[in-house]
Symmetry: C2
Subunit: 120 residues, 2 copies
Amino acid sequence: MQALGFHYLIELHGCAREKLLDAPFLENLFQKAVKESGATEVGRVFHNFSPEGVSGVILISESHFSIHTWPEHHYAAVDLFTCSTTVDIQLIYKHLIQALEAKTHSIIEIKRGQKIPSEK
Amino acid sequence: MQALGFHYLIELHGCAREKLLDAPFLENLFQKAVKESGATEVGRVFHNFSPEGVSGVILISESHFSIHTWPEHHYAAVDLFTCSTTVDIQLIYKHLIQALEAKTHSIIEIKRGQKIPSEK
């Protein structure tokens, strides 16, 4: 069975703290990422936490892009979940690293919607 | 370094097709899951696709709960992402399986916000 979705979990450490505090900046960054990926937005919600930190999700026709930031740890957790195989994930990944000035980072791909052979 | 977040990727196969088509039902199901988990909602967006399928995210103070459905494959991809260690994920998992009548299912936990030792 082919995968129905491709879920990329991105870890961004050592980011610029001021970027992780800035909800409008992050919303704009993600809006660009969606556009760049060729995806279609169907809704979004961003939230600025007190005392600090931002969470945001853009729902797309192809699934979702999300970010959660921990400014005090200079860390952001990003998910890019898409059912499309045409999205250039590496390009978006590179842009996010640059925009947030991440010093260390990782990305893993998890295939979603595949039956696990051992399951009955 | 302790994990900052706990991300549960839930695969639900063999679900009842009519449940996966029903955005209000799924939104209500997720609202209950958030309440049950003791999390605090800060926003949500749900979308019904044409010809079929639902995507929805509830943004919570502790991160997010999301669902994407593929009714034609009787499949739903659920994410429960939380920075809280007090959420009873197994209880929510069990309720989702029951509510969607999933015949096969799996859950994996991915720790977010841990530095990878091999990274500089």
